[in-house]
Symmetry: C2
Subunit: 155 residues, 2 copies
DNA sequence: ATACTATATTGGACGAAGTCTAAGTCAAGA
DNA sequence: TCTTGACTTAGACTTCGTCCAATATAGTAT
């Protein structure tokens, strides 16, 4: 973590209390927080920190390659501190929880030359969706619906 | 397209002018529109159609499996009418263009049992990122910058 | 053809997520 | 210590999407 702060200082970052706290929050957990979650935890240590600073700092860390932005569905972006080890994500379509996973093959090899349309393909993001044990259990209790949820609003 | 409307009627859909127009818009193009783009095009044919109806109808079509919702970045969701042929997406990180692509392997098989953490994995989404020929050419002309741009806001 | 009713539509209020701005603050170097 | 440009802040604003009560209407029964 000190590594992170040192790297940032080396790149000309001004080290403010806000940035330090945000770095600490990201470092402490292996969870992928949303910006609001980062803010909530930062506030515990530095009550006057603003949402804008959290957004600014997260954006800068992404631009510097220190963290990765993950957009799974239409919900809030999540920030993945584990940017230095390539991995994919497994997301619960019930509650949105996200886990890092390692896969056994390079997905880029599954894309044949004839399907590249002249693109220079540099990156593949694989996201797995499913139900986490908790949500699966909650569903089993709630009764045997199809599980896809919310086919129609109830007006 | 009549197929689509027929399928929907068979499933008990009430066929309204609004739904017909939305289906027509989706059918006409191979582009993946946002909800607002769908609305804009629907308004041309049925000026009084509301945003709410577009959102409702798109949501229902997704729930019925007739179209697919695609979220690439944190922006508006896009709707992919090509839901009956499984495919993945190739996105240009320069201009955002998106193409449908077919891959040769089932990505779910690349996720070992030990990496599933008790989840019931039902779906895998692969998104390839790269440069389309146009953007690559533009870069070559513009000179050798890193191209990732915008490291810091200029206050 | 008419009436009926569950379902669909509408506009607008509301909410979540994120961006922007102008004014004030402060870390780091001279 | 002084200076200054980078950083932070509050809050207005934008975008995307959802929800609601009131109204309209497709499809069916009569």
């Amino acid at each position: 973590m000190d590594d992170l702060l040192q790297r940032l200082r080396d790149r000309g970052w001004r080290l403010t209390a806000q940035r330090r706290v945000i770095a600490e929050v990201l470092d402490g957990e292996h969870i992928h927080f949303t910006a609001d979650e980062v803010h909530a935890r930062a506030v515990e240590r530095l009550p006057e920190i603003s949402r804008a600073s959290v957004y600014n700092t997260l954006g800068e860390l992404v631009a510097l390659g220190e963290i990765t932005e993950v957009t799974t569905d239409g919900r809030a972006k999540r920030y993945d501190p584990n940017a230095h080890h390539p991995h994919q994500h497994l997301v619960c379509s019930g509650c949105g929880t996200m886990r890092d996973v390692q896969i056994t093959e390079d997905p880029i090899r599954a894309l044949p030359e004839g399907e590249r349309f002249g693109f220079t393909v540099s990156n593949a993001v694989v996201t797995y969706y499913g139900r986490c044990p908790d949500c699966a259990a909650a569903e089993a209790v709630a009764g045997g619906g199809t599980g896809s949820g919310q086919a129609r609003r109830t007006a």
